[in-house]
Subunit: 469 residues, 2 copies
């Protein structure tokens, strides 16, 4: 491989120049020792921020596969430092202690590429901004930072000519960021449906297949290391919401922040819901859903996270355990699915290293990663206007005319019914399950409100979305 | 977005310069009329070779989504001509007749990007070579050309600094070329297992789910347009073999030609095989299999195409109808799967347009696509050394000691047996099905040869590989 000027080098377009140009060949005092005689720069300097489960695997793979990575990137990937909070803490044996430093800012200042695997927003945000402002490429797995401060980061990258990579931020090893940003760059995405949180998928899968309660399944997930001691971010859907925002931004070329994403977690899902879903030919999954809305003259996008019923024949229904999968429905491509391990040290490190090879290759050969693309600026459609289907479970007085009255309430609100099934009886009440056809969220909510007020409806047991025809 | 110099612009590495630099802004007499006032070049000139099912969809999408594509690529994608054999033939209504030309060579000479969708080797090869030699980017869906002449094409691209894209050549809209070339660039691939031919998957699926014979399923596929009048390339596995060669090259950074790929098609698969497979918890799929072999001191790769038994729980087992899917097993990422429509005009056009946006973006902003990477140069392991598992069906004399004798033959050749089941009886003979553990192909073949010679073995009914653990 050889470095070369852009094909259009004879006619360079005016544009903002990088504020600082990096010298991987190693000018200045922090330069790594250079030993190669290749034509292009010998090494690209990499700073690692954070050395937890993923960071440690990145260190291992950088060392074990140094020759392969160099052959693919066109230069050696030289780890010049690892910023950690506690330089004395115990580390995996392959982590070189001499590279550990508590001074992340100084480390960032001497890197061509900064790999950020600390996570969270503070104190990471100023470090990442400093890196981007200096023209260094940033490779991050930090979904929270991207979903909350994406525009600021992309803006800093744009101004300095730096690149920002984040395949590891969504669904671990599953290459859905590449898929949306590059493979589907020539298509128009209609919808993204994803199982993007392995913890909740594990819990729901245990509930579905072994009949566990939510609490027992959560306890098992914690025991096996799939869930943290404080499982809030996972089970309440916040982790999935950050990923939904990132996926929607990529899919629709529009800025979407985590604050734009209504979230419902899985705490309310019961083993009985699971059993009834199975009987009706469905499974319950926590889904990140992003759709382009074009109905009724509305033009925009809807992004949300909630448990949903999926037909058992849907490709996402077969996603078991802690795996992740994302289905993309695009105008020309039709339905695509990306499937794999959504978390864990080595799988997430694989995503980081894929980005690192691309980033290093651009440092050596020129060119940039695809930039953030937000030209479409589609408005976010409020939930009320979103077309949806729901399954409603009711406990009814078991007397003549009740079902007709319920059906009448649906009709009044313009919501048509796909199916009604009696699914049990409690204390003389009938329990029925009603699946609607598509209607607006507003009409569906009004239907449920009206049903709650009806004296013959003794309880609205549950309301759940139905997705994925 | 803005054009910029490579980050390393201050220290350009010496290397071969492009032999010809293209000017998308439109110098020279063939320049498209320019209307934009953006900073970067207004348009990138695209030549389309071939206007069949896929080409026509490319034309449609280029026109319908012109503004979206321009926003994403940074310049308009200007279709400057469409080379076809017969300029008078009927075309889809959106194909502009004034762009049709029979002079492909002249068209290639005035394009920044050549999209080749004619297919086959002659007369396409000199056209594609001419384009690459002149420095034009080539986007192709031509698996036959790549699998037979890949090194020549990549070499021409390397010399002139041109780019070669071919997402559409493997599995239609399924972005497995991106996946292997970019997402997995930092990982080491252990195996690729793919359902990469929709025609044969449709036929096998009809046989499995509806009990059709091969001939009836093929006739149905032809009736529905999934199979051609001459189905040889599909049912005998040649199409899959070309794709296997391309996938193996990408996965293992090693040149693999179609001539390196042993092929068995699906003509010998019977409805009875299907029924028995289902009973044993398997499905039969035509698989493209590429593996890194590290057993027994052998270091190399094995690439082949054949029908195989897959456990019903394997992700590829659920791939129905004419869909394609590719499972990649990588050291750090673990198991990934890419799934989608493997053929058809619009899905394949989606893959072409994804490549086109990337190609145009590089023309505007500089930089190159990742180059062919063949540094690993792993040797191809002959079939005899390949570890494999097989299922053998035998018709045996139904008398005491026969089964022990058969088991003894396996033992003699060092092949251990996973399971033996009696699966029927014919005319006083017993029919048994034996699944082996992993052994070398050579040992398995010798076992079968020895069994064939045994007078108590009345027939070796079938021998089939077992894949996917």
């Amino acid at each position: 491989m050889s470095a070369r000027a852009p094909i259009l080098g004879h006619d360079p377009a005016p544009g903002p120049a990088p504020t600082r140009r990096r010298a991987p060949r190693g000018e200045g005092e922090d330069a790594p020792v250079s030993s190669s005689t290749a034509q292009h720069p010998d090494a690209v300097r990499i700073a690692l921020l954070g050395c937890g489960t993923v960071g440690s695997q990145v260190v291992r793979l950088l060392r074990e596969h140094a020759d392969d990575l160099a052959a693919r990137a066109g230069a050696r990937l030289e780890l010049v430092g690892i910023a950690v909070r506690d330089t004395d803490a115990e580390r995996d044996p392959w982590v070189p202690r001499e590279l550990l430093t508590a001074d992340a800012a100084a480390l960032v200042a001497r890197a061509d590429i900064v790999v950020e695997l600390i996570g969270g927003i503070d104190p990471v945000r100023p470090l990442v901004l400093a890196a981007l402002e200096s023209g260094a490429t940033v490779v991050t797995g930090n979904k929270a930072l991207l979903a909350a401060h994406g525009p600021e980061l992309h803006g800093a990258a744009e101004r300095s000519g730096a690149d920002l990579y984040y395949e590891a931020a969504v669904a671990g090893a599953v290459p859905v960021v590449y898929g949306l940003r590059e493979s589907l760059a020539g298509d128009n995405v209609d919808a993204v449906l994803g199982i993007v949180n392995g913890t909740t998928n594990f819990i729901l899968d245990e509930m579905a297949t072994r009949g566990l309660s939510f609490d027992d399944a959560l306890a098992l997930a914690q025991e096996l290391g799939y869930a943290e001691a404080d499982p809030t971010a996972d089970v309440d859907g916040h982790d999935a919401a950050a990923k939904a925002a990132i996926l929607a931004s990529l899919a629709f070329h529009t800025r979407v922040s985590i604050d734009d994403v209504p979230v419902t977690g899985i705490r309310q899902v019961t083993a009985a819901d699971m059993a009834e879903a199975r009987e009706a030919g469905y499974v319950i999954k926590l889904l990140a859903v992003a759709r382009r809305i074009t109905d009724n003259g509305t033009r925009g996008i809807s992004v949300r996270v909630h448990p949903a019923l999926l037909p058992a024949t849907h490709p996402l229904a077969a996603v078991r355990g802690a795996f992740n999968a994302v289905v993309v429905e695009a105008e020309a491509a039709g339905r695509l699915m990306f499937y794999g391990q959504g978390a864990g040290g080595a799988p997430t490190a694989s995503a980081v290293l894929g980005d690192l090879v691309a980033a290093a290759s651009h440092k050596v050969h020129g060119g940039n990663a695809p930039r953030e693309s937000t030209y479409a600026e589609l408005p976010l459609v409020t939930d009320a206007q979103t077309p949806a289907r729901t399954q409603v479970q009711l406990r009814l007085a078991d007397e003549p005319g009740t079902l007709a009255a319920v059906a009448g309430v649906y009709g009044e609100h313009g919501v048509s019914i796909e199916s009604v099934r009696q699914t049990g009886a409690d204390d003389g009440d009938a329990r029925i399950t009603i699946v609607s056809h598509l209607a607006t969220e507003a009409a569906l909510a009004q239907t449920v409100a009206k049903l709650s007020d009806d004296p013959r409806v003794h309880e609205v047991v549950s309301v759940m979305r139905v997705e994925g025809n």
